[in-house]
C-alpha cells in the first residue's frame, strides 16, 4: 500500500495490520460520503441563498440571515462529525495498537497509516470544506452599491417635499441626514425637527461595508503581496534544498542567482505589504468619509486607533 512491503524483509505482518487497513478504508469512505453531502448541500444552497438575498423584503433581511446561519450550522455539523469520527475511530485505533516490538515493518506501517488518514482529513477534507464555505460566503455577499443607489434616489425624491411646521415655507434638506436633526426655517428661524426615514437611517449602517466593497481591490493587492512573500520563501527553501547534492557548477550558479533574485523581491514584499495595507486603510476611510461626511471627525479618530493597533514596521 505504501510500498512498505516491497523489500523482502523476513518479517511477519503483525496481526493488527488488517484491522487498521479496514479502519483506513472505512475512514476514507466516510469522508467521501461527508464530502458528497457537503457538495450536495452547497450546490442546492448557493442558488437558494442568492434568491433569498434578492427576495427578502424585511428591512434587515432577517429571514435571509436565518437561512444563512442554518446552512452554516449544517456545514459545521458535517465538519464536527468528521472531527469526532477521526478522534473516535482513527486516533483510538492507532493508539489501541500495543505492539511491544514496533520496529521495522510494524512501525513503518503505523506511521503510514497515521499519515494517510491525517492527510486525507486535514489536507483534503478541510480544503474541500474551506472551498465550499468560501462559495457559500460569496453567495451571501450583498451588493451595497445597489442599496446606496436606492438610498440616494429615495433622498432625491423626498428632499424638497418638506415645509416649516410653523410658517409653512419650504425647507430643503441639503444632504442625507441619518439621525434626527434640527432644521432651521430660513423664513421664521423656527427649529424644526427632521426625522429621516428608514432608508436614510440605514446609510450609517451600510457606509463602512460599502466603502470596503469599493476599496477591496486594494485589500486584495495587499493580500497578494503578503502571499508572494510566503511563496518566495518556500521557493527559496526548495532551491536551497536542491543545491545540497548539486555537483554541476553552472546549475549551482544559476540557482544561486535565482535565490538572490527571489530574496530581493521577498524583502521588497516585506517592506511593501504594510505600506499597501496603510494605503488600503486610508482609501477605505476616505471613501467612508465621502459617504457619511457627518461622521468624518469620529471616523478619523477610529482610523488613528486602527493604524496604531496594527504593529507596522516603520
Amino acid at each position: 500500500m505504501f510500498n512498505l512491503f516491497s523489500n523482502n524483509r523476513k518479517e511477519t505482518v503483525p496481526e493488527w495490520v488488517a484491522g487498521l487497513e479496514e479502519t483506513q478504508q472505512r475512514w476514507f469512505a466516510f469522508l467521501e460520503k461527508l464530502e458528497a453531502r457537503m457538495e450536495e448541500l452547497c450546490t442546492a444552497a448557493i442558488p437558494e441563498l442568492k434568491e433569498m438575498l434578492a427576495a427578502d423584503e424585511d428591512t434587515y433581511q432577517r429571514t435571509f440571515y436565518k437561512i444563512q446561519s442554518g446552512i452554516n450550522g449544517q456545514m459545521q455539523h458535517i465538519r464536527r462529525k468528521a472531527y469526532d469520527t477521526y478522534e473516535e475511530k482513527v486516533i483510538n485505533a492507532r493508539y489501541a495498537v500495543r505492539d511491544g516490538s514496533l520496529t521495522g515493518m510494524g512501525s513503518d506501517y503505523l506511521t503510514g497509516f497515521t499519515q494517510a488518514c491525517s492527510d486525507r482529513y486535514h489536507r483534503d477534507f478541510e480544503s474541500k470544506f474551506n472551498y465550499w464555505q468560501g462559495q457559500l460566503d460569496q453567495a451571501a455577499v450583498k451588493d451595497y452599491e445597489a442599496e446606496y443607489r436606492r438610498i440616494l434616489s429615495d433622498f432625491e425624491q423626498t428632499k424638497n417635499s418638506f415645509a416649516c411646521s410653523q410658517c409653512g415655507s419650504p425647507l430643503t434638506i441639503d444632504r442625507i441626514f441619518f439621525i434626527s436633526t434640527y432644521i432651521t426655517c430660513p423664513a421664521c428661524k423656527t427649529q424644526n425637527t427632521f426625522e429621516p426615514g428608514t432608508s436614510a437611517r440605514s446609510l450609517q449602517h451600510i457606509a463602512r461595508s460599502l466603502a470596503e466593497q469599493r476599496t477591496r481591490h486594494l485589500l486584495a493587492a495587499y493580500e497578494a503581496e503578503n502571499e508572494l512573500e510566503r511563496e518566495l520563501y518556500q521557493a527559496n527553501h526548495e532551491l536551497k534544498l536542491s543545491l545540497i547534492f548539486e555537483k554541476d557548477r553552472t546549475v549551482t550558479a544559476g540557482k544561486e542567482q535565482q535565490i538572490r533574485a527571489n530574496e530581493i523581491r521577498r524583502q521588497e514584499a516585506i517592506s511593501n505589504a504594510p505600506r499597501m495595507y496603510k494605503a488600503y486603510l486610508r482609501a477605505m476611510y476616505d471613501e467612508w468619509n465621502n459617504i457619511t461626511p457627518d461622521l468624518k471627525e469620529h471616523n478619523e479618530k477610529m482610523y488613528l486607533r486602527h493604524i496604531a493597533s496594527n504593529h507596522f514596521p516603520s
Binding site: 453531502r37 450536495e40 448541500l41 442546492a44 444552497a45 437558494e48 433569498m52 424585511d58 428591512t59 434587515y60 432577517r62 429571514t63 436565518k66 437561512i67 442554518g70 446552512i71 449544517q74 455539523h77 423626498t158 418638506f162 415645509a163 416649516c164 411646521s165 410653523q166 425647507l171 434638506i173 441626514f177 439621525i179 436633526t181 434640527y182 432644521i183 432651521t184 421664521c188 428661524k189 423656527t190 427649529q191 424644526n192 425637527t193 427632521f194 426625522e195 429621516p196 426615514g197 428608514t198 432608508s199 436614510a200 457627518d294 461622521l295 469620529h298
Partner: protein, 80 residues
C-alpha cells in the same frame, strides 16, 4: 437530519425561517417627516437664536441637560 436529503433540509429551513417571528416584531419602515415642538406652556415655537433648551418667552425647560458638541447639535444651541 440523518436520513433526509439536503434538499428537504433546505426546504424545511426555508419554511421555518419564513414562519419564525423576529425578535422585536416586524420591522416598520418609516418615511421622513418634519415637525416642530412648540412650548406646551405658552405655545411659542423655538427659534434658532433663542436656543433649544428653554422657551424664550416663558422660560419653560424643554430639556434639563446642557447640550455638548455632537454631529448636528453644538454647544451654541443651549439657551442663554
Amino acid at each position: 437530519m440523518e436520513d433526509k436529503s439536503p434538499k428537504s433540509f433546505l426546504q424545511k429551513l426555508r419554511e421555518k425561517a419564513a414562519a419564525q417571528g423576529n425578535y422585536g416584531g416586524a420591522a416598520e419602515a418609516s418615511d421622513a417627516g418634519m415637525k416642530a415642538r412648540d412650548c406646551p406652556n405658552c405655545g411659542a415655537a423655538r427659534a434658532k437664536q433663542d436656543g433649544l433648551t428653554r422657551c424664550a418667552y416663558c422660560g419653560f425647560a424643554f430639556m434639563d441637560i446642557r447640550l455638548s458638541d455632537g454631529i448636528h447639535i453644538k454647544k451654541e444651541d443651549n439657551s442663554q
